[in-house]
């Protein structure tokens, strides 16, 4: 009982804190910086979710942009195409109040996450038979297929994309709240997975799939679960992107996007949640910070990437994590030295 009371208090506190930061950030930060922070949050969701597949389960997928696109388009399709119809029948869904915005955003999130999850299931299936570079090619191809399909659906604007999506995420100054709510949720899920015996099975698949089979791990289920979970969160990232930046086009989700997400996971250290978070922040913010260098920007950016991979081929964090336990260890070792 006490446990649940504490937990409830913790969650409420965290939500209140997120909300406070959200309001503060909206009012005090320049719009440009605020947008960069939101974009960082969205890329953190993408990188940490891809880390579930690439890092923790060891399946090399490079088509994460595809799930991101499915989420964004399905979510936006609700708000732009279907919501007006539905609102006529159900006044609750009208967009003229804050709670109307929230209800519609939640519906868009659910639809986007569900659609992306289903796609993740379909793409996860070939991963049962394919390994390494073959799987990489299939997932890359999948990302492109999604983009080309979207280019050719007139209802969602074809090459022009969907423009003028209602800015549901930012309404009520909740932009930061929504994005980082899902950041926190995803990090919590990933971390709990890594520390549970169920999650051990994911690591076993990464380490040695045959041995995992032999010890009784249902490797099929583990791989499909990883794919679906990662796709659901990529879909959520897509819905958030669409309803914050209000314009999406197939080009937003091209191969470059998929590759930059994969780069984040590898750069951070495959399997490390902390690594994915930091690499996602770094790779999103760095091109912005380098804007002063104008046309040299991407050259400097690429050189930095090469230098990092040369000096730390295992990624910034390797398999390690930065968390409470690390600080405890640091403090303990520090004490050991002084004694």
């Amino acid at each position: 009982m006490r446990f649940w009371v504490n937990r409830l208090l913790g969650v409420t506190g965290a939500l209140a804190l997120l909300y406070a930061i959200s309001v503060w950030a909206t009012e005090n930060l320049q719009e440009y910086y605020f947008k960069v922070i939101i974009l960082c949050g969205i890329y953190i969701i993408l990188a940490v979710s891809l880390n579930l597949v690439n890092g923790i389960t060891g399946q090399f997928s490079i088509g994460h942009g595809g799930f991101y696109a499915v989420g964004a388009y399905v979510g936006a399709a609700w708000t732009v195409l279907w919501q007006p119809e539905a609102a006529r029948a159900l006044p609750l869904l009208q967009l003229n109040t804050l709670h109307g915005h929230i209800v519609n955003l939640l519906i868009a999130l659910m639809l986007g996450a569900f659609a992306a999850g289903c796609t993740g299931f379909l793409v996860g299936l070939p991963s049962l038979r394919l390994r390494g570079d073959y799987l990489a090619i299939v997932t890359l191809g999948f990302g492109e297929v999604i983009r080309v399909v979207l280019l050719n659906i007139d209802a969602v604007g074809g090459a022009r994309g969907l423009i003028g999506i209602p800015s549901l995420v930012q309404s009520g100054n909740l932009g930061f709240f929504w994005v980082f709510l899902f950041v926190v949720l995803l990090i919590a899920i990933s971390r709990n997975l890594l520390q549970s015996s169920y999650g051990l099975a994911f690591l076993a698949v990464r380490e040695d799939e045959v041995a995992a089979d032999a010890t009784g791990v249902n490797t099929t289920r583990v791989k499909v679960t990883a794919f679906v979970l990662a796709a659901v969160f990529a879909g959520i990232a897509g819905v958030l992107y669409a309803h914050f930046f209000i314009n999406i086009s197939p080009d937003t989700f091209d191969m470059n996007t998929s590759i930059i997400i994969t780069t984040m996971v590898v750069l951070g250290g495959s399997g490390s949640i902390t690594g994915s978070v930091l690499a996602a922040t770094f790779l999103t913010a760095m091109p912005e910070l380098l804007r002063d260098f104008k046309e040299y920007r991407m050259v400097i950016f690429s050189t930095l990437l090469i230098l990092i991979m040369l000096t730390r081929p295992q990624g910034l964090f390797g398999h390690g994590e930065l968390g409470y336990a690390t600080f405890q260890r640091l403090i303990r070792s520090g004490r050991g030295k002084t004694l």
Binding site: L200, L203, D208, V210, A211, A212, D213, A214, G216, T219
Partner: protein, 236 residues
């Protein structure tokens, strides 16, 4: 009635035939060994029993029920676990996590703790290195871990694929002693070995495999005395 029985098992890797109709039986409480040269089909037989490869033809029965086309994790749940060829420990996970994964299909927490103690009693070295990653263990310790991991599933039938491969001679001796200890605790064992001499000394019965067929089946004692076996597999 036998605990495990294989009837006319045929296994192919693509177009290549690995097993050409293997039939064998393992009775509860026995140590049975399969001996034979490289490529005779010993490991393939183990892989077929544990569901890692699917036989094209034939029947595998465990404890009276067919397990022929079950996925590997369900076969583990029925009580068949293995220490695979080449040990295949999870190198980046700790010794403890490796053992925990061995009990992955089980939910009886107290039973798991008891079995952990049993494994540590058999292999005290593993207890000393509990929080070390498995990749840093020596070959012998990794073999102990692979066997320990298989025991954590609390199997009724334990499949051991080349447990002595690549071990120092004095370790080979102790691995075989431990195999007998495990058997005395009531675990039936199917043992694949290239070290035919040692395997036949600890086993009750043996099968000799050649190019995917059983060419000889007899008690271990008789096989040790058999002229052909002595010449072909015992190097005499």
């Amino acid at each position: 009635m036998s605990l495990l029985s294989l009837r006319d098992l045929h296994v192919y890797y693509g177009a290549i035939r690995a097993l050409e109709g293997i039939s064998l039986d393992v009775n509860a409480g026995e140590i049975v060994t399969m001996i034979g040269a490289n490529g005779a089909g010993k490991s393939t037989t183990i892989r077929a029993i544990s569901g890692l490869v699917r036989p094209r033809q034939g029947e595998i029965t465990f404890d009276g029920a067919s397990i022929t086309n079950l996925p590997p994790h369900q076969i583990v749940m029925r009580g068949v676990s293995q220490s695979p060829e080449g040990r295949r420990v999870f190198a980046n996970l700790t010794v403890f996590e490796n053992l925990e994964l061995g009990a992955y299909t089980r939910r009886d927490r107290s039973g798991i703790v008891g079995d952990l103690e049993r494994v540590f009693a058999l292999f005290p070295r593993l207890k000393e290195r509990m929080y070390q990653s498995a990749g840093t263990l020596s070959g012998g310790e990794q073999q102990m871990l692979a066997i320990g991991r298989a025991l954590m599933a609390r199997p009724r039938l334990l499949l051991l694929d080349e447990p002595s491969l690549g071990l120092a001679p004095f370790l080979v001796q102790s691995i075989f002693e431990i195999i007998q200890d495990i058997n005395r605790q009531g675990v039936t064992i199917l043992l694949v070995e290239q070290n035919a001499n040692q395997a036949l000394r600890v086993a009750h019965r043996g099968y000799v495999l050649e190019t995917g067929r059983v060419v000889l089946a007899d008690s271990a004692a008789n096989l040790l005395r058999n002229e052909e076996v002595r010449r072909a597999y015992l190097g005499e």
